[in-house]
Symmetry: C2
Subunit: 244 residues, 2 copies
């Protein structure tokens, strides 16, 4: 579908993309493109906005803190992830960053940090986590960036939950054979991963009582929370998602 | 099987473990246990050696750079991983550390770093990677630490390969539906993950020609090498390993 070679540098923009469309860069993007990467007028860059696929665009104007690119042709169609959310309790900084990066890479549609009874951190840097999701999409030729929600208490999230979206709960107390996810119904899902200390007894009782929650085991070994997140998303994608 | 509460601090030792067995600590372990963790005579520690399961041991002698523990009772049986090796091309330091940690957590029996045509680093710190595998086992209540080999060229590894061990090759050129691994034969396997730049054309041709190599896709998205390693081990474990 594309006659031009695929541009190496990729930027995510807000602007609509289409043939002949002019797109303004943010001051940060202009600095990165012209200052750091030494690109200039006439160079080709890949643009995506989460809706219109990837477009090859040519630099039309380049200044220190601003720039204009013009879309030439679509390089790849828009690729949306399946309707899978990842709910997780933030852990140490590096491992939290890692979970967000991997969720974006593996194809989650939304990332929901929750505070549980045993969650260490009472706050997150939502903007920093969102930037990690964006960077993962830019690096891995993605055309969609999953939104990262603000931190909410798990109890509040569950109180307002739409029962039409099932929750796959990686229950760290279930250490044994992994479930066969292929038997689960398709449709909207969310994966729930606890913090390092697992869930409290009260949380576990509540989760067990919810009709839309399915507990699963992730094998006979104890996994760190970040490992459990990647393993659960992988198993869901291969059984119910778009890896099939 | 165990009457004593499971000790929180876990140490991997070389020594055989059994009821009444006295075990000497290394200077580093004695420093960690008595200097850093402030443990002393009478305290209980968990010991494992990769063969005899986990044992609860009591500190019998504590000095600055040495110590003796006596095994009281077995706290958990020995748990061996299935016969799965992970072959991977080292990438950036943090992501290489991550791959080794995750391979140990997810249950690989051996970790084989290989140098490919597009591998950036010409050397690894084998001792540091081995320490990461050990720490993962200590943290995640494991009783087995996968050995980490020295870096070898992929061509040399393949030249001496035992054809009885099949290789599951995460072929980054196969972007599409993920394979159904359940159709693959059981037995000894190795997973092969390339570097960030993928494999060269010559390497790909060689791999395709080997009868014991099976290429697989890991879904429709491009994954970083560390993500591919975790996803591939997860899929293998759930289809052919001990997560079934």
């Amino acid at each position: 579908m594309s006659a031009l070679p695929r541009a190496k540098i990729r930027l995510c923009v807000e602007h609509p993309l289409g043939a002949g469309q002019a797109v303004s860069l943010s001051p940060d993007q202009a600095h990165y493109l012209f200052g750091v990467m030494r690109k200039g007028v006439g160079d080709h860059i890949a643009l995506f906005n989460g809706r219109d696929g990837e477009w090859t665009a040519e630099v039309a104007e380049a200044a220190k803190k601003r720039g204009i690119l013009v879309c030439l042709e679509q390089a790849a169609p828009q690729q949306m992830p399946p309707d899978l959310w990842l709910i997780f309790a933030p852990i140490k900084k590096e491992r939290t960053d890692f979970i967000v990066e991997k969720a974006a890479e593996l194809g989650c549609a939304r990332i929901c940090p929750v505070q549980t009874e045993f969650t260490n951190s009472g706050r997150i840097r939502q903007d920093r986590l969102q930037a990690h999701a964006l960077e993962a999409a830019e690096q891995c030729l993605g055309t969609f960036v999953p939104p990262v929600d603000d931190l909410v208490p798990l109890s509040k999230l569950l109180a307002g939950w739409d029962a039409g979206r099932r929750i796959l709960w990686a229950d760290e107390a279930l250490v044994g054979a992994a479930e066969t996810l292929a038997d689960l119904p398709p449709g909207p899902w969310a994966i729930l991963i606890g913090p390092e200390g697992g869930f409290s007894e009260a949380e576990r009782a509540k989760l067990r009582a919810l009709p839309f929650v399915t507990p699963i085991s992730l094998g006979p070994r104890i996994l760190r929370a970040d490992t459990a997140a990647v393993a659960a998303v992988t198993l869901w994608q291969s059984a119910l998602g778009d890896w099939r």
